[in-house]
Amino acid sequence: MTGPDRPSNEFLSEAQDVVEELSRNLLELDTQQRAGQQFDPDLLNAAFRAVHSLKGLASLFNANAIAQLSHNLESTLDALRLGKLELGPAALDVLFDSVETFQRMLAAFGEEKAAPVDMDPLLAKILALSGGGEADDANASLAGLDDSILGVLTEYEEHRLRENIRMGRRLFRVHASFDLLAIDVGIEALKGKMKAFGEVITYLPSADASSDDRIDLDILVGSERPLAEIAAGVAEDGVTVYELSGSSGSGGGASAPAPAPAAPRAKAPTPASPAPSPPRMTVEAIEEDEEEEDEDAGGQPTSSAAPVPDDDYADLEAISVRSVSQTVRVDLSRLDHLMNLIGELGVVQANLGGTLDRLRMREGAGDMVRDLQGHLRTMSRKLSLLQQGLLDVRMVPLGQVFDKLARVVRQVGRQAGKDIRLSISGSQTELDKLIVEELSEPLLHMVRNAIDHGIESREERIEAGKPAAGRVDLRAFQRGNRVVIEVEDDGRGMDWRKIRETAIKRSLVTREDAVELGTNEIVDFIFMPGFTTREVATSMSGRGVGMDVVKTNISRLSGMIDVDTELGRGTRFAITLPVTLAIIQALVIETCRQTFCIPLNSVLESIMVRQSDIVTVEGQQVISLRGRTLPLLHLSRMFGLSNDTRFYDPERIYVVIVGLAQHRVGLVVDELVGQQDVVIKPLGAALRSVPGIAGATELGANRTVLLLDVSTLVDEALTRSEVVAAVEAEAAGREEARPHGP
């Protein structure tokens, strides 16, 4: 059998998006609640809409269990947003639970073998929640409000209106007039301003329209601020603010004639948005028809000026179907295929270049050569555009992973009984889809580690004079053609002395050698296999659990990982990754007549040294570069290539400096050939595990060339303790020399 069919794939990815949006909304609500703020009703509303869309989607695709769960959840969310239920930690727990359940259900969907996800316990919880004491929808007086307003409000709007009055806010009527063509932009802008003051309760079409090409709206706003301030804040052409007499505030204020709203459908020209709408259109079709759209939800511009009550389901389905066709989802393997083709075209192009060169040697072909050269240049330009375009298609924001991690933080934090503040930055940083996928597990592991083992218990923290809540930072940013992801906690940090003891106990290093190691090298032991067992975890407060696995995963992505820790202050892991794996820039080198590629993102620089610059310290060749001592590695020796010295020129020794931060080594090679974009191809199951080789690629003329796995080579070099010792000794020597200097 082939995999799930297309429609169900479409359903899955669409549903996944919706669930992720739901999750984002919930996380934000959770943050607000924990910060003790009033929750933003828009968020709850967006969550409600997400579940509603999911329900529609699920029934469209016969995912009955998902439809059933969304139906139940929808009722709960409806009750929550109408204030019939209180949004507390218990409710949020159930909601987060549902997100997890949805995800499990989606994972099981389309796989015949998968056992159906048991959602009864969750349904019971949802039911229990709804059964719980109803929060009283304070019967705040709506006196003073014109019946003509009340009459057109939906239940939800009326609830928000009451809420606002209960909170002692004043009510304002903002009259705005928009140009028919620019209404979507105008409303968004105005909405943004008004949200700063309070809550937008509803938009009503105004009866006193001035002309045919304008639309007048009355917007009902609840705010604590005085009239003058709001009027100044939203000041704009065609906008006037009135305070409604019924407001409970100071009671006074300019009482304006109540608006006379038109009947909902009477005069509501629905300006079709001229701009292409983003594909999240399902949110538009909900029974209550909320006008407010989250800007971050993709900003489907407010399309109808009047509330259109009770859309029926036929509408919903029509719109869902339409949204499916807005984006094309492509299997990654198809993109890989295209990428391969482009790579092969690149090879063809290189070959053409070769032919051109030969043609140039001939006489009498001048015009044609020039022609050909021109075409070839155009082709290579287009080819690189094509390549870049394809790479862009593969890019996804890291936010996808970060959102998942945010849920994990919440969950793990609760399990461990620790209060964790997670701060995320750089979610919009983009990486190749493949890398993002491969990255989620290592990141998950690191975040778990940070919470489980890094962050101390509440009591410990207070005793240490730290804030009671632990902090975990997730940061991503681009640096050149690399992306750096940092996971930092403000926990207890790692004690290098304990790590050293464990390393000695595990015979990763002898006691004599260990004494020579610097703290950085010692902390790096956490990346060694064998540093993973529980026993170690408890005896050294557990950081570094499974870090070897994390490291292996990262280096498989041609990435590197660095750790920086301070006892009592916290730990920071930094992962550096190439932006894409499919095509990378490589430095082409030769050694012993064999050609290799080195990923350019791990090359710091290439230098040329003389034999006389090389010093031998305890059997290890080193050079000194800008005050730093670098161990030298001969690629030919590491790879056991023939030791052909014919290419060896003591006056011109090429050294490629590779590595990251404190781990730098110089690779001695015979020749630097040049830089080139290369398409990386896997070596297959049998050769994948050759250490130091990351893959293969094709250079022109049908030559297959190996790509080095720099991170493994550097490790290999540095874990040979004599190298480290030599470098340390050298460094110590300089240290000693310093005080005696001038």
């Binding site: 778990r448 050769l687 595990s689 050759v690």
Partner: protein, 195 residues
């Protein structure tokens, strides 16, 4: 119209009946209908005849350029590019611990597939294709002395030859590809192991 004939064809196929093909008619419809006959490709390695089932072989190619891969076992010649895919190429004589014969003009690369991966195996010469019934295969790898037994699936006696059928799962045992001192440094990471 086309629909009807298709249906008939499908119905026959479903019912498990052999459907006569053009070829059958041309050959007088005498072809023996036996489902368990298998075709083998015979090839020579260091003077001995070996065979592989024809459906394990995806193509036979002339010897092409390869790139050596450091840190691999002696029988790994290197990697080569076959229709855009990079695949390992091995010297079958060295793999079977036979005395390698000088590689002549008849040498070929058998591109075989095993476990969803392609491998190239260099042999001295491709001989012929032969149809063998299962009962003609002797399940007696013990007949071949020495450690080579593990690479042998079966033997079969042909009129003037003994054909040794190779066991690909041992010949292509992936851990043997990397030289012993470089094994085990990279770890297998199981999916979900971190959850």
């Amino acid at each position: 119209m086309a629909r009807d004939s298709n249906d008939l064809w499908n119905a026959l196929a479903r019912s498990g009946e052999a459907v006569a093909t053009e070829e059958d008619y041309e050959h007088g419809y005498k072809r023996e209908v036996r489902g368990d006959l298998r075709q083998y490709v015979a090839f020579r390695v260091s003077g001995e005849s070996y065979g592989l089932s024809i459906d394990q072989i995806s193509e036979i190619s002339k010897v092409f350029e390869t790139t050596p891969v450091p840190r691999t076992a002696d029988f790994v010649i290197g990697i080569g590019n076959v229709r855009g895919r990079v695949i390992p190429i091995l010297d079958l004589a060295l793999r079977l611990r036979l005395e390698p014969a000088p590689r002549g003009r008849d040498a070929r690369v058998l591109i075989v597939h095993h476990d969803d991966e392609l491998y190239g195996m260099v042999v001295d010469e491709v001989l012929y294709v032969v149809t063998i019934a299962p009962e003609e295969l002797e399940d007696a790898p013990g007949a071949i002395p020495g450690a080579r037994g593990e690479y042998i699936k079966a033997l079969t006696r042909l009129e003037d030859d003994i054909l040794i059928v190779l066991e690909l799962s041992t010949v292509l045992q992936t851990r043997d590809f990397v030289r012993a001192e470089h094994r085990g440094r990279t770890l297998k990471v199981t999916k979900g192991g971190l959850a």
